[in-house]
């Protein structure tokens, strides 16, 4: 899932300083599970913003958390109250912030979290990146360890000359992805896969991505429409 961390309070305060009526909108999706942007965090942020106001300030801070900010149907729940506010703070990932801003184009929307990566939950409060969403998955060739994400140089043809004691030269706390790939392929008896040259790839994600699932295509695309 997508992992995020909350922005520094000072940065959020600066962004919303000009506004009097501010609604903090939490997201019940990914950012809620990594304890960055869910209901508790929205409430907690509001308390901090309220508590750190200068004496005499008349700013109003409210909060609400919706199921997911990346879906129209859940954003619709905000329609009736949006007009009561001068600004939104969205605690969703970058996608959620944008979808919220798209639905309410007249209201300034400010991000309350920094979206970090697509990753896993090692344990509560411990998250690790695993996927760069590169669009052309090679995990089948690399024993389920992503060279694009886990190798600091995103190499495709084996380890560079730098690993030290099994760890990446860039970060001694990170295992070398290619040594891990090597060892797992070896254990699976398919090491020969590493001896083949992986050619240069066509990188995707250079323009905004869009998926139209084939079964639903006719629902969105009219006959003769080029897309």
């Amino acid at each position: 899932m997508i992992k995020a961390i909350i922005k520094p309070l000072e940065e959020i305060r600066e962004m919303i300083a000009p506004y009097r009526r501010v609604l903090t909108i939490g997201c019940g999706g990914c950012v809620s599970l990594c304890i960055a942007g869910g209901q508790k965090e929205a409430r907690s942020l509001n308390i901090k913003l309220h508590a750190s106001q200068l004496p005499g300030s008349e700013a109003i801070f409210n909060d609400v958390t919706i199921e997911r900010q990346c879906e129209q149907q859940f954003l619709a729940a905000l329609d009736s109250r949006a007009g009561n506010y001068d600004a939104f703070i969205s605690l969703a990932c970058g996608a959620g912030v944008q979808f919220l801003a798209e639905r309410f184009p007249h209201i300034p929307v400010f991000p309350g979290v920094n979206t970090q990566f697509v990753g896993i939950t090692r344990d509560i409060g411990w998250y690790e990146e695993r996927c760069k969403t590169c669009g052309d998955c090679v995990l089948g060739l690399t024993a389920g360890i992503c060279p694009v994400t886990m190798c600091a140089k995103s190499l495709f043809n084996g380890p560079c000359g730098g690993p030290q004691d099994g760890h990446c030269e860039v970060d001694p706390d990170t295992p070398c992805a290619w040594i891990a790939i090597y060892e797992r392929l070896q254990a699976q008896g398919r090491l020969e896969s590493m001896n083949e040259i992986r050619p240069a790839r066509n990188w995707q994600g250079q323009t905004p991505g869009r998926i139209l699932v084939e079964e639903y295509r006719t629902r969105y695309v009219q006959d003769g429409d080029k897309s």
């Binding site: 140089k153 995103s154 495709f156 000359g161 860039v170 240069a200």
Partner: protein
């Protein structure tokens, strides 16, 4: 011949080759390149011009290489995958060939985290093996990476690096085989201090027939001091400096350590020359270009062959 490279001519003639290294300056200082080049002239057959090594900004390899060429040296242009995508790389390869820079060393490159701009965006559009394949196709098939045709092919003598000392040890010769299959003509290795491990790797390469397909030059770097030896051992990724070498420098007074380091380097070169399947030495005297004449002379590598004879 695949190229006009002086290094290729010398290697193809079967003579034991010697390449050097020149680190470009951190400024628009052509004289600094010329000064270093003059120490190396006549001492080495070709000289690697590093490409922003350790991810620290320096004068470009191609520009410094051209200045070195004007001084009568044969430049080996280094190209790393860290800073350029395939468009910029191919463009620079065409430019290098057009300017008479005929030898190219293809590297992944040190990660930007080690350098002076750790917050820059990394590129790594290609890795070093994919870069080798691309340069070979440009030269031999007259095709860009996209498949489009090249009007005038860049006739590059193509090189790559190998580190026999890095983990996983068993894979290192396979990685060499991949580089050979991708199209490298010559290999320059990481600095050799651990002779035993290097010999094992070279034997594996011989047994796989790789030394018949590619010229291997063993990297050597003279240790200037005990401090440098310790730094190389403990701080440089992928470097294997045996304890005995550290001990030997420890037994020498500080003022004599440079001399001892050069003596050790010359012994290493002698040892390497006796190894079957080795085509030459790559002498990396890091920020010590002015000591190269002394090292080369003491190692018995002079005179260097003239290109006419080669």
């Amino acid at each position: 011949m695949k190229s006009e490279s002086r290094l290729e001519k010398i290697l193809a003639s079967g003579q034991f080759a010697l390449t050097g290294e020149l680190g470009p300056p951190r400024g628009a200082d052509a004289d600094a390149v010329r000064k270093k080049a003059r120490y190396l002239k006549g001492m080495v057959d070709a000289v690697n011009i590093t490409d922003n090594q350790t991810a620290v900004v320096r004068m470009s390899s191609l520009a410094a290489g051209l200045i070195a060429k004007q001084e009568g040296l044969e430049p080996v242009c280094q190209m790393v995958c860290r800073d350029r995508n395939r468009i910029a790389m191919q463009s620079d390869i065409l430019g290098a060939a057009a300017l008479g820079v005929n030898t190219l060393l293809c590297l992944s490159g040190d990660h930007q985290k080690f350098g002076d701009h750790p917050g820059c965006k990394k590129v790594f559009d290609l890795d070093s093996i994919q870069l080798l394949s691309m340069v070979k196709a440009m030269r031999d098939e007259g095709r860009f990476q996209s498949g489009a045709e090249i009007t005038v092919r860049p006739k590059m003598f193509i090189g790559a690096a190998a580190n026999p000392f890095a983990e996983p040890h068993a894979f290192r010769v396979q990685r060499l085989a991949k580089k050979v299959a991708a199209g490298t003509d010559f290999i320059q290795t990481q600095c050799v201090y651990n002779m035993e491990r290097f010999q094992t790797w070279l034997k594996q390469a011989r047994d796989m027939g790789l030394t018949e397909k590619v010229y291997i030059l063993a990297g050597v770097t003279p240790l200037k001091s005990l401090g440098m030896a310790r730094y190389m051992k403990n701080n440089v990724p992928g470097m294997d400096v045996p304890k005995e070498l550290i001990k030997r420098l420890q037994g020498v007074e500080k003022k004599d350590q440079a001399r001892e380091g050069i003596a050790m380097c010359c012994e290493q070169i002698q040892h390497l020359r006796e190894m079957q399947g080795l085509a030459g030495i790559h002498l990396m005297a890091i920020e010590w270009e002015h000591r190269v004449p002394e090292i080369v002379k003491q190692a018995g590598l002079l005179p260097r062959p003239e290109p006419e004879q080669a």
